[in-house]
Amino acid sequence: MIDPVALFLMLLTASTPILFAALGELVAERAGVLNLGVEGMMITGALAGFAAAYHSGNPVLGFAAAALAGALIALPFAVLTQFLLSNQVASGLALTLFGLGLAALFGKPMEGVKAPTMAPGPLGLHWIVWLGLLMVPLIWWFLNRSRAGLILRGVGENHDAAHALGYDVRRVRIAAIAFGGAMAGIGGAFISVATVLQWTEGMTAGAGWIALAIVVFSNWTAPGVLAGAWLFGGVTVLQLRLQAAGVRVPVQLLSMAPYLATIVVLVAISARQKFSRRAGSTAPGSLGQDFHALR
């Protein structure tokens, strides 16, 4: 039998990349921006973080570089959606395709080398795991208790009203997009710098898309994102344990579990939002819509 505490610690590690990416996307979506480029920002962060950690020998620098790279790669998306009023769905897809391509291109020289490791934090967990857990209350506090968070939510809920009150809708949204990019970058780097310790093409394997689903699952709240990330982490760990235990199910079918679980969860939560009279969807009112101030 496996020790449940050890299993929970594994779950914390497995859920960290998604937790970061989903918290970042949560902030962007609360500002009214639907960014489907999470996967592209994660893979960019995974590469930039790995390269920086490898060349400097310092994983901390790797995570800083990943945050910066994630925010930078999100810039074209910000320009497209905020200044050129492009469709957010299409622009986000473009960001994902571009990021995956760019990372594959510049990642070639990084193949086959190992990342430097750092001393683990409390309970043998990576420091970034703890940072992720700390981000949950911080972001909850920011969104629900701070003035800046109130403005951000106002922009996401009704951009015309926020504009009429004199808030700079574009600036708030660009900041939210950059924050989302930085968080996704750290999440991606956690995979390459903290767990796999190697760079391989396409190594985020859909984690960015799962993060997007978890934001829907969370009903746009930070604790909800944590619950979603843990659920996902739990399925991943369970699946890996089953593989290791040599269950007579093909590996390829077991490794579908996280994706199928995401679909099941997405369906369950969507159905709840659709049919329940009390628990309606709390999606931000202006989510995914272009903002164009005529005056």
Binding site: L80, L84, S86, S91, L97, G101, L105, L260, Q273, K274
Partner: protein, 358 residues
């Protein structure tokens, strides 16, 4: 100060010229990228966009143009119909893989029967497989309101794993000396999708792609369903009052694009790819999204856009051989192209004027 004024209608010239502008901008930005990477930008751009058609080895690479363009056009014509209605099937890659598996299953079950019905049955199975895979996100959206974007995308990863399982398990070639991968359908005449006219690269998928372009053109500009789709995309509320059921459109658009993507997968596995392997999905389903946008969601535009993106694939391979340029360059190019395209789209939707001092 500049300001943007929404256009009420777009001049046809502008409609057609923004994709051209986007391609030119991509070439410029790509040249810059090559220069940064230490390659001669002019040689690199010429190798990708000119040499496959007119260079010294063009007689080998020209037929490849149709081989690569056929799946892109086939998939993109279906996707564009949904995109017009605001229905985002971004999981065509998964529908392509499932189509390939279902089509190949018919062939592998019939092996080594020589009958004429086998290939047509494979085409139907491929389309049905893609349709069924596309109907999963459609039904989940219609019944429970789940986002078709996320569900269709998740199903790509599921499909990839089914393909890997098939290649290593149920579909493994019993005479393959333990190597993963199915029997090679190119060596099974009743199931093969051969080159129809020698030296052109044209196989049945090319025929299907042309038919798909014609059929979607008819659908979108001559059929009431196409009118409903356009109405739902531009004025959803008005369409609803006119009696257009969103549920019907979701099922229709995801089913149609799934069936076309599935067919594309079948033609690929029976032709150029030859067998089911864990790498049967090569990204056509994602590139087709770019093709649909570059073609401005118009069937004829998609035809041209599919040829252009096929050119970047072939040019990319050529540049890999002759200039040692990394293979991922093409992916970066395609991503940049979509960025520029979406940016230049501003010109078709808004007029740019000087702000007049009040």
């Amino acid at each position: 100060m500049i300001r943007l004024v929404p256009r009420t209608d777009t001049p046809a010239l502008l409609q057609g010229s923004t994709p051209v502008l986007a391609v030119l901008a991509t070439m410029l930005a790509g040249g810059l990228l090559f220069a940064i990477m230490g390659y001669d930008p002019v040689t690199a751009i010429r190798t990708i966009f000119w040499d496959p058609l007119f260079g010294p080895a063009a007689s080998y690479s020209r037929p490849q143009l149709l081989v690569k363009a056929a799946p892109l056009i086939l998939i993109a014509s279906g996707l564009a119909v949904g995109f017009r209605a605001g229905i985002w099937n971004i999981g065509a890659e998964g529908q392509y893989i499932i189509g390939a598996i279902c089509g190949a299953a018919v062939a592998l079950a019939a092996y080594p029967a020589p009958e004429m019905w086998i290939f047509p049955a494979m085409v139907i199975a491929g389309a049905a497989g893609g349709w069924a895979w596309g109907m999963i996100p459609a039904l989940l959206r219609n019944w429970f309101g789940a986002s078709e974007i996320l569900v269709s995308l998740m199903l790509v990863y599921v499909a990839q794993r089914i393909a890997a399982w098939m290649a290593f398990g149920p579909m493994k070639n019993p005479e393959g000396f333990g190597m993963p991968g199915s029997r090679n359908l190119q060596q099974y005449p009743a199931a093969a999708n051969p080159e129809l006219i020698v030296g052109t690269g044209a196989h049945w998928g090319v025929v299907a792609a042309v038919l798909a372009v014609l059929a979607t053109w008819f659908l979108m500009s001559r059929h009431i369903r196409g009118f409903h789709i356009r109405a739902a995309g531009t004025a959803p509320r008005a369409a609803r009052f006119a009696g257009v059921k969103p549920e019907t459109l979701v099922a229709f658009c995801l089913g149609l694009s799934g069936a076309l993507a599935g067919m594309a997968g079948l033609f690929e596995v029976a032709g150029p790819a030859g067998q089911i392997t864990d790498k049967i999905g090569v990204g056509y389903g994602f590139t087709a999204i770019i093709v649909a946008f570059l073609g401005r969601l118009h069937p004829l535009g998609i035809l041209l856009a599919g040829l252009l993106l096929a050119l970047t694939y072939i040019g990319g391979e050529l540049a890999q051989l002759t200039l040692n340029l990394p293979g991922a360059t093409v992916q970066v190019f395609q991503g940049m192209l979509l960025f520029f395209l979406l940016g230049f789209d501003l010109l078709t939707r808004y007029r740019i004027t000087r702000r007049i001092a009040a």
